[in-house]
């Protein structure tokens, strides 16, 4: 068991959530009964492990009738709806009371004072820049207006194309004009999208507003950060945020650049082989909500892998320090075990001056393709260190094809992931657990 980690401090709240969900959520009641359990069987963190995890599939299949609490209707104006990217197998609609989403976000972001201040200021002036399906706005339409892309809470969604590298300059120009008009107090962005806009800012000699930047939606890497910081030049106000459609914010980077998991809004478990992970071990995050809202989640298997770090952060915040390693569907596998995580790939590749964009894709068990776009600093052999390290991680019996290309496509929903794996996706769909 993890000790003194802050994860089990609010266990009583989790027990109340189980009772609430058992009484009010029909799919969860059936789920418990099928496992031969009632809330009375769960008294300790050890008992908690007996509850079979719930998954995205449960919430997709049973939405809305089986997942909404008794008496809740979707007409309730207090409800806030979120929707995942819509790609097959991953699509999901979640609803929760707006105040719950907000409270989770505020608790999470409390680890970063700059972000906290910008995030909570009124009126809200957040500039959202992400794949179209993430923002729920069909903003790839060149004919859309700022008004049509302004959300009810006042946030402005900037236009993007579905396939990032096909974005024409006129859209980037429009983005920069709209930023000037809107005068945002916070950028809420996808890291790869913002990295490309940042390059255009430099090309167009545009000076962006020096306001805090949240990097979320997809996993960030050092290369994206390098491109963003070239334009924004404000490392202290740039922070990664781990969020999920189902919950909102979960973990936020503090000014010391460490990710802190929000243990005041959730009961978090980091699980390996069905048991709590040891410090530093690669583990899957399971989340149990606290708030007895309209759609409680119990032992929700996120598909996201983390390491819990055994360290106190100099920032002084009490939330435990974790590192996000990536989604199972983006992991690289060999012999049904994980050989390389997106975070580890980021550590290998880094942010060399010859590299503009890259992606590692596993198409088969023994076939990988490393695609990369280079600039004028590239020399033959610049990528050799990546080849050597990948062979060390993935083994000598696999094929790793290196392609220096002019174009790397985004996923259909518009997200650009620097890691993708057919094997990981298939294993996740089959219920893979680490």
């Amino acid at each position: 068991m993890l000790e003194n980690n802050g994860f089990t401090d609010n266990f009583e709240d989790a027990l109340l959530e189980i009772e609430y969900a058992f009484e009010n959520i029909s799919f969860f009641r059936d789920h418990m009964i099928q496992a031969g359990l009632t809330p009375k069987d769960i008294k300790s963190p050890e008992d908690f492990l007996k509850i079979p995890p719930t998954t995205k599939r449960h919430y997709r299949k049973n939405f809305p009738l089986g997942t909404l609490a008794k008496g809740v209707t979707l007409k309730d104006p207090a409800l806030y709806r979120t929707q995942s990217s819509g790609t097959t197998g991953e699509r999901l609609i979640s609803v929760e009371y707006g105040y719950i989403f907000l409270e989770r976000a505020i608790n999470s972001i409390s680890v970063n004072p700059d972000l906290f201040s910008a995030f909570t200021s009124e009126p809200r002036k957040h500039c959202i820049y992400s794949a179209p399906n993430c923002s729920d706005v069909e903003c790839s339409n060149p004919n859309s207006t700022m008004k049509s892309r302004t959300l009810n809470d006042g946030s402005l969604v900037l236009s993007v194309y579905h396939d990032l590298l096909t974005t024409p300059d006129k859209i980037y120009t429009q983005n920069l004009e709209e930023i000037d008009i809107y005068e945002p107090e916070l950028f809420y962005t996808d890291p790869t999208h913002l990295a490309h806009l940042s390059k255009k800012m430099i090309e167009f000699k545009y000076t962006p507003p020096q306001v805090p930047i949240i990097l979320t939606f997809t996993q960030s890497n050092q290369l994206n950060k390098k491109h963003i910081l070239k334009a924004f030049k404000q490392n202290s106000k740039l922070a990664r945020v781990m969020s999920m459609t189902e919950f909102g914010f979960i973990a936020v980077e503090c000014p010391m650049k460490r990710m802190h998991a929000n243990t005041s809004s959730y009961y978090l478990e980091f699980i390996v082989n069905g048991k709590p992970a040891k410090k530093g071990e690669l583990a899957e995050l399971y989340i149990t909500s606290y708030y007895q809202g309209c759609m409680p989640h119990i032992r929700y298997k996120t598909g996201d892998l983390y390491r819990v770090l055994d360290e106190k952060c100099e920032c002084g915040h009490e939330f435990p320090v974790v590192e996000i390693e990536g989604r199972i569907s983006n992991m690289f596998f060999g012999d049904n075990s994980i050989k390389l995580t997106p975070n580890e790939l980021d550590q290998i590749v880094g942010a060399p001056d010859w590299l503009e964009l890259y992606k590692l894709h596993q198409s088969e068990n023994d076939f990988f393709t490393f695609s990369y776009i280079t600039n004028e600093n590239y020399k033959k052999g610049s990528e050799d260190y990546i080849k050597e390290e990948l062979i060390k991680c993935l083994g000598e019996n696999v094929t790793i094809k290196f392609e220096n290309v002019p174009y790397i496509p985004s996923a259909r929903g518009g997200k650009y992931q620097f890691c993708s794996s057919n094997v990981g996706e298939q294993l996740l769909n089959e219920g893979f657990s680490i």
Partner: protein, 404 residues
């Protein structure tokens, strides 16, 4: 030794396991259309048996799944030809792709000159004649494109567009496209390249070629029929008008007006060939797995055998007798004093299981100029072997004794 040079893929093609009247099939008509590997057939079937829904028109699971595959196919095509995804348009076939450009650029039939070539397929010939003031590049004494005449026309006619065929579907000869495209570009013309016969065998990189449009048909490269590809440079596609309009091509419609979507969607009206995209994606995967260098080497090898066997026989009248030209494994020929080539092709098929083409090959200007009438065409692909080609000539020798 001979079999080691083959690609060893015959087992992947179900139609090659079929027997007709006891004969094994030797398929030598791939310039018309290729056979399909099982993975392509399975992929097409999976669409109909597991999905069958429409794309881009709904939020249900099946629709999103099918939409994902359809758009993933577009991306695979883009990666295949080194373009961007929004520069790839799905059409019905190469012919429709060419018509889309010919009629979408709003040429003035009287005053806008285009240059076309005598060695082209009818599909890269007729649409230009119909849409613009077309000038035709002659053949030289060898029977291939006369580069000097090409230069003369480029200079004198100041064409808006030059349409070239990369590889002749009749002679199998590859045009010197780097040179031709450069000349056309220098004259300020748009460039259109028909790669229907070349892309099954050779890697096409549109960025390196710096070509404005290319067109090809998946069915000639292991994919399904009924789906075609048009690549166009993004800035030119913005100015190109759609050939047809309807559902899927507009962002907004109201009271007698409409706003077109951006490319490529403004060109794709109505429900497209979704199963075709499923199949073509599998075909691209199949080709990538073998690799273009291997496919091209195999094509070169078979081309050598075709022509070395043909010149041994004095009754065979090869179109373009100069064998120094770069050729694909396509051979078209007449037979001395014989106008019954259709009968010979039928006999090759029915008595020996050898499937080859006869006729004018949809390139009548070229065939008429180089022969006295029809020709027989033998065209090979990845599933053919050198031995099959030798068998073909042995069978032809026997039939010639009777018909010749």
């Amino acid at each position: 030794m001979e079999e080691k040079k083959t690609l060893n893929v015959i087992q992947d093609f179900p139609s090659l396991s079929r027997k007709i009247d006891g004969n094994n099939i030797t398929y030598l008509d791939s310039a018309a259309t290729s056979l399909k590997p099982k993975s392509v057939i399975d992929s097409i079937c999976s669409y109909y048996s597991e999905n069958s829904s429409n794309i881009h028109r709904g939020k249900h699971y099946l629709s999103e799944e099918a939409s994902n595959v359809y758009e993933e196919c577009r991306i695979k095509v883009a990666q295949l030809i080194e373009s961007f995804s929004d520069e790839v348009i799905f059409t019905k076939n190469t012919t429709e792709s060419i018509n889309l450009v010919a009629h979408g650029l709003n040429f003035n039939k009287e005053t806008d000159n285009v240059i076309i070539c005598t060695d082209s397929h009818h599909s890269n010939y007729i649409p230009w004649i119909a849409a613009a003031n077309a000038h035709i590049v002659k053949l030289n004494s060898d029977g291939v494109i006369d580069i000097n005449h090409f230069k003369e026309l480029i200079i004198s006619k100041k064409p808006k567009l030059v349409a070239i065929s990369h590889c002749s579907n009749v002679t199998g000869i590859y045009a010197p496209i780097d040179k031709l495209l450069k000349l056309a570009k220098e004259a300020g013309a748009l460039t259109f390249l028909d790669v229907a016969q070349s892309i099954p065998h050779r890697k096409i990189n549109v960025k390196k070629l710096d070509v404005d449009f290319i067109a090809f048909s998946p069915h000639k490269m292991l994919g399904p029929t009924g789906i075609g590809i048009l690549y166009g440079k993004r800035n030119i596609l913005e100015k190109l008008n759609p050939l047809i309009l309807g559902g899927g091509t507009v962002d907004w419609v109201e009271n007698g007006s409409y706003v077109l979507r951006k490319a490529p969607h403004k060109f794709e009206a109505g429900t497209p060939h979704i199963a075709g995209a499923y199949g073509f994606m599998a075909a691209i995967d199949y080709i990538n797995k073998i690799g273009y260098p291997q496919i091209e080497a195999h094509d070169n090898e078979l081309s050598k055998v075709l022509y070395s066997e043909a010149i041994k026989r004095d009754y065979i009248d090869i179109m373009v007798k100069n064998l120094d030209y770069d050729r694909s494994a396509i051979l078209s020929f007449g037979i001395n004093n014989n106008n019954n080539l259709g009968d010979i092709a039928r006999a090759l098929s029915d008595s020996y299981g050898l499937m080859c083409r006869s006729g004018h090959l949809c390139a009548q200007p070229l065939v008429d100029e180089l022969t006295s009438g029809e020709v027989i065409r033998v065209s090979a692909y990845i599933y053919n072997t050198k031995q099959e080609i030798i068998n073909f000539f042995n069978a032809l020798d026997t039939i010639y004794q009777i018909y010749g």
